[in-house]
């Protein structure tokens, strides 16, 4: 898996630590729950130990996908992301107070609250993690066109609700 001469576990830990900061922050922005983001990333780390990713290519996308799925499973329903959209209004969890405080300190905090989880995932993956639309589509298990449409909707929402930012 990872091209390293050390033991695979040590190599995986090293890789994981390299991606951890950006992935953690991305997951906080998507899941709106710091503790859940830590849990999901830890699960992704364990998953990488158990079944290493097939290649070094797009490791950020792989970790993001695994962590998002683990996050949904930890939280409860474990619905596919498409169904998350359908029932989002019913099951959008409450934001923990510490994460609320964090969002209040961010300029983007209010905008993130306006978006659905899928929209947050697409925006953060694209603009923060720098993933391509195809990588995002693979990570979320949707079509590339859906990623583009979702990104467009998210930007539209953010423009309407974020005049103080843009």
């Amino acid at each position: 898996m990872v091209s390293d001469h050390k033991e695979p576990a040590i190599a995986w830990e090293s890789t994981f630590r390299r991606f951890y900061p950006s992935l953690y922050r991305a997951l906080v922005a998507v899941l709106l729950d710091g503790e859940l983001a830590r849990d999901a990333l830890q699960e992704a780390f364990v998953e990488g130990l158990r079944r290493p990713p097939p290649s070094d290519h797009a490791l950020a996308g792989w970790l993001f996908r695994v962590a998002l799925r683990r996050g949904r499973r930890i939280r409860g329903l474990g619905l596919p992301l498409r169904l998350d959209e359908l029932v989002g209004s019913l099951r959008e969890p409450e934001i923990p107070p510490e994460t609320e405080a964090l969002l209040d300190r961010l300029a983007l905090g209010e905008l993130l609250r306006l978006l659905t989880r899928r929209q947050r995932a697409v925006v953060v993956a694209h603009y923060y993690l720098g993933l391509t639309q195809q990588e995002i589509a693979d990570a979320l298990g949707v079509r590339r066109g859906t990623v583009g449409a979702t990104l467009s909707q998210a930007l539209s929402h953010m423009r309407r609700g974020g005049s103080h930012v843009f």
Binding site: V28, Q42, F45, L102, Y128
Partner: protein
């Protein structure tokens, strides 16, 4: 805008503080707490759902298990004499079978008259002593018969005396008048205390004249204490039965047949007589004063809300609606609750402790009537919770038993045992089949032991007749007799024999 947004997002999200790097790959205790909390909540939900939905079934399962254990401990065992009707209807006999051994221990010989298939049922026998009408021709001139009532001790299974009723000349009968018409067409009934005996004889042409006598059963005198005659004008031939309503009330039930028997009855007259055998109420079928042309069960029950009686009327041909009829002590109709013929033929009824009359019909349907208000509470089709495999079998439907009633009720009135295919146990409060007896072939007659702890079924398997002892709780077969001789067709009564003396 995109580059501005990208910069803004990167700058802003980079401000999110990271957890201590020593914890990045450490197992998260908090997550386990959260998971265990979710598991606990899920467990509570499961427990609540299972408890609420399955409480009834669980209780039923526990009850069935307990009952099964009781059966396993031998509580179903017990000795009974089962009195079976056999022989040709014109020359009927009663065969006594000891259960559970299944041995035929005796046969009461004589031209008795206990009822036949053609006549719709068997005579009612109650108490510890039965008086069976017998006509004997031994040693007498041709066509002359010596008639008497044979007194049978039901708990010993032996005849213990006779009450002579005189000689008669055998009536000349048309060969096709009525299949198996007895030479001595008579029927008896005894009071619940065994002190009074009533006898009705059908005399004259086609039995149109009924002679009714009341005897003191304790002195076995041949002289009746009271006598009455009831004349019918027809149509057809008439056969009578007698129903003891109480110590001072009887009903004489006269069934009319076509003179040339065609397999059916025309109608039934009911007469209510007092202790002096004076007729105090008359219900001829042609005037339709009783519902269903007078086709009413002789299984008359005491009305728990008055001093009168409850009678179940239903036309076996379903040409008219039936009814539950409430009679007063003077024999007049107090009220009648109609039973639509669409409900099916009413096989029988039982009274619950709360004065509810439960009627089971041939569809089968459980109809409930409030004896206090005389109103129909409801009529519910009998349903059955069955597995997918069992659904391949036909649902419970009543089969007409050739001998005796097609249904008997548990002593507490909670359950009905219905001759169906196969025999079914129905809980009347829920109108549901709660047990079946799939292991036995077609059942011709059923009867319960006196204490209601044993159910007997006359099993007709092609040419073989056997008697099966069933556990009334589960309908499991506890024992079965060897093939019985003389092809019995009905169960007259079940009595527990006296223990053998030293």
């Amino acid at each position: 805008m995109s580059s501005d947004l990208r910069d803004l997002i990167r700058t802003d999200l980079d401000r999110i503080p990271l957890p201590p790097d020593g914890e990045w790959i450490q197992p998260r205790a908090q997550r386990r707490v959260r998971a265990s909390r979710a598991a606990a909540i899920a467990l509570v939900v499961i427990v609540v759902v299972v408890a609420s939905l399955g409480a009834g079934q669980a209780l039923r399962a526990v009850r069935d298990w307990v009952e099964t254990q009781r059966v396993a401990t031998g509580l179903v065992a017990g000795n009974d004499y089962v009195y079976l009707a056999d022989g040709d209807p014109s020359s009927q006999y009663i065969q006594i079978v000891a259960m559970p051994s299944g041995q035929s221990v005796g046969r009461l010989v004589g031209q008795t008259y206990v009822g036949s298939v053609q006549e719709g049922g068997l005579i009612g026998v109650s108490g510890d002593v039965a008086y069976l009408p017998v006509a004997s021709s031994g040693g007498l001139p041709l066509d002359t018969l010596n008639t008497y009532l044979e007194r049978v001790d039901l708990r010993r299974g032996v005849p213990v005396g006779r009450i002579g009723t005189g000689f008669l000349t055998a009536p000349r009968l048309e060969p096709n008048e009525l299949p198996g018409t007895a030479a001595f067409a008579a029927a008896t009934a005894t009071s619940a205390d065994g002190r009074t005996l009533w006898l009705v004889r059908d005399t004259g042409e086609h039995g149109l004249t009924a002679s009714v006598d009341r005897f003191d059963a304790q002195v076995a005198s041949v002289t009746p204490l009271a006598h009455a005659t009831i004349n019918s004008t027809g149509p057809g031939a008439t056969r009578s039965r007698i129903v003891a309503l109480g110590p001072d009330r009887i009903a004489v039930v006269r069934e009319h047949y076509p003179v040339t028997y065609q397999g059916g009855r025309l109608g039934v007259d009911w007469y209510i007589l007092d202790d002096q055998l004076l007729t105090i109420a008359t219900y001829p079928f042609e005037e339709h004063r009783l519902p269903a042309s007078g086709f009413c069960s002789t299984d008359v029950r005491a009305d728990p809300t008055s001093s009168g009686w409850v009678v179940l009327c239903s036309d076996p041909f379903l040409a008219a609606d039936g009814a539950v009829v409430f009679l007063s002590r003077d024999g007049s109709i107090v009220a009648q609750t109609p039973l639509s013929r669409e409900l099916g033929y009413a096989l029988g009824m039982t009274l619950a402790a709360d004065a509810t009359v439960n009627v089971l019909t041939s569809r089968p349907v459980v109809a409930r009537v409030d004896a206090r208000t005389h109103g129909l509470i409801d009529a519910r089709p009998v349903t059955e919770t069955r597995s997918l495999l069992e659904r391949l079998l036909p649902p419970a439907t009543a089969a007409k038993g050739p001998g005796g009633p097609g249904v008997v009720f548990s002593l507490d009135g909670r359950y009905a045992y219905l001759i169906a295919d196969p025999l079914a146990k129905i809980e009347l409060s829920t109108a549901k089949v709660v047990a079946r007896a799939p292991s036995i072939a077609a059942v011709g007659a059923i009867a319960l032991s006196e204490d209601g702890e044993r159910l007997y079924a006359l099993v007709i398997d092609r040419q073989t007749r056997t008697l099966a002892l069933l556990d009334p709780r589960t309908l499991r077969t506890a024992s079965q007799s060897a093939p019985l001789p003389n092809d019995p067709y009905g169960i007259v009564i079940v009595r527990t024999p006296l223990p053998l003396g030293p």
